[in-house]
């Protein structure tokens, strides 16, 4: 579904991703793991059109979407639940959710509120007043509102309490169970590898390892460097 070939990207004079190849197949959950600054988030931003690609190609459903405008990429069916949640703080939960459906007609908010009951309780509240966990749920729900075919999660557990992290992991598992294609970047490598069908290991802007989630969970290098036991 998503094919990336030879992708290079970066900020200003600094290149942070040096030509990577990456695939996500329909219905699959793919995780990108690796240290801070390895280029995972930059890769996601480039896919979504927030950061220009310097070289290489991104194809979605066989169409070239390299360097297309961000809103066109959303219309093509890719959505991202960004790092740090990035809800619209001054706007209500309902308004945030409606914006999630901006790129398409209609908005089935009821369905989403059923899935995230806490958001129903907070419906009229400004998103900025929600707790971190609630904001994460809102960000996920908002991303799903666009009815994406590929849903990208960028560091969904970052800065959340352990109990909430588990809740977020469950939510992503539920979304996966619904048949959603997922691309996940996560600092918490164990959580990522447990969720993922396949995973890529990033090191200094390059992919150094690729395998199924289970394979990487037991790979000595990964265990030593990222799983910490």
């Amino acid at each position: 579904m998503l094919e990336i070939r030879g992708l290079r990207t970066g900020y200003g004079a600094i290149e942070v991703v040096h030509g990577i190849d990456l695939d996500v197949n329909e219905g699959e959950c793919v995780a990108l793991i690796g240290a801070n600054g390895a280029g995972k988030s930059s890769t996601l931003k480039t896919i979504c059109g927030l950061l220009p690609a310097r070289d290489g190609q991104i194809r979605f459903d066989g169409h070239d979407i390299t360097n297309r405008k961000g809103h066109a990429i959303v219309q093509a069916g890719i959505t991202m639940c960004p790092e740090g949640r990035q809800v619209f703080p001054g706007m209500s939960v309902m308004q945030n959710l409606r914006l999630g459906a901006y790129a398409r007609k209609g908005a089935d908010i009821e369905e989403m509120l059923d899935m995230f009951p806490i958001l129903r309780e907070r419906a009229g509240q400004a998103a900025g007043t929600l707790s971190g966990g609630e904001q994460e749920m809102l960000a996920i729900a908002r991303a799903l509102m666009s009815r994406p075919r590929l849903c990208i999660f960028d560091e969904p557990s970052l800065g959340l309490a352990p109990k909430i992290v588990a809740e977020v992991a469950q939510t992503i598992a539920r979304i996966k169970a619904m048949g959603m294609t997922i691309l996940l970047v996560e600092q918490n490598s164990l959580m990522a590898l447990r969720l993922a069908d396949r995973a890529y290991l990033f090191e200094a802007g390059e992919i150094v390892l690729e395998g199924t989630g289970t394979e990487l969970q037991t790979h000595p290098e990964v265990v030593k460097a990222y799983l910490g036991h």
Binding site: G70, H71, Q75, V87, F88, P89, G90, L99
Partner: protein
């Protein structure tokens, strides 16, 4: 008591004009982070154009205002495309200099097209309504009603329409707005069209209540920014509350303290508010 009420009524009409100017400035600031100094001069352009259409081309006032509003929207779009967009990703000082240059340019255009003489937009609203000693001139009533209608329309637009929500979203978080599928290249054009139209409306009000002359626009934009700071940068409710507070404070200050220090007192109030609430009356902490 009558005097206080009368001063408040006097201030509300002026406050309404301030609100419209400040609304235009605040949405531009919210989306682009630009201090759009040329706004006052553009408003005056709208006022001049209305005067020209009414006094020299014989248009009915309403039609002239509509034409001026549409011309204003187009002008706003052109300003965004030709003046601000090219410096969009450059250092902030560039946009600042563009804004100053644009002010001089628009003032020059006004002078060239409409001359240096003061103009007053003629209206036939000359009646005076009186309720228990408090009088309300017909023209000021229309100004208050029109300002209220525009504020209401603007609020509904921003809160209830998809485009309005997209504008707010871009103001709150541009990257997240892109992820929602919002075309962030289009939004500034819409914002400038609306901002300029509001400015033109304010220009028409100034031109009919008072007068349009070289320099009036600059004075107005200073008041507009004062309102912005008073109400909270980028905040729409802040612009509304701040504008009315400024208008009424000026009227009360002129009436009860001294008309000579009217502007000074208004700015003293602004500073006092900022000391107590640095984020402005309606700004977020």
């Amino acid at each position: 008591m009558t005097e206080i009420l009368q001063q408040i009524i006097n201030g509300i009409a002026i406050g309404g004009v301030y609100v419209l100017i400040a609304l235009g400035l605040t949405i531009v600031f919210g989306i682009l982070g630009i201090a759009h100094f040329a706004h006052g001069s553009v408003s005056m352009f709208g006022g001049y154009l209305t005067f020209f259409l009414v006094a020299q081309q014989g248009y009915p006032l309403i039609l002239a205002i509509l034409v001026a509003l549409v011309v204003g929207m187009v002008l706003g779009v052109l300003i965004e495309l030709l003046a601000y967009r090219p410096v969009r990703n450059a250092n902030h000082i560039n946009a600042f200099i563009v804004a100053l240059g644009l002010t001089m340019m628009v003032e020059g255009i006004n002078l060239q097209f409409f001359g240096a003489e003061q103009v007053v937009i003629p209206t036939d609203a000359g009646r005076v309504f009186s309720i228990g000693g408090v009088t309300l001139p017909e023209l000021r009533l229309y100004v208050i009603l029109a300002a209220a209608a525009l504020i209401l329309a603007m609020t509904i637009f921003v809160e209830k329409t998809k485009t309005g929500q997209a504008i707010r979203a871009v103001a709150e978080n541009r990257d997240a707005a892109i992820l929602m599928g919002i075309n962030v290249q289009m939004i500034p054009l819409i914002v400038f069209a609306i901002s300029t139209a509001l400015g033109v409306a304010a220009g028409v009000m100034v031109g009919s209540l008072f007068a349009i002359a070289p320099g009036v626009g600059e004075g107005l934009v200073v008041k507009g920014f004062a309102v912005l700071i008073l109400g909270g940068l980028g905040s729409i409710p802040g612009a509304v509350v701040g504008g009315i507070v400024l208008g009424v404070t000026e009227a009360l200050a002129a009436g009860f303290i001294s008309s000579a220090y009217k502007d000074v007192i208004a700015f003293v109030v602004m500073i006092a508010v900022l000391l107590l609430r640095p984020q402005g009356l309606m700004g977020r902490a």
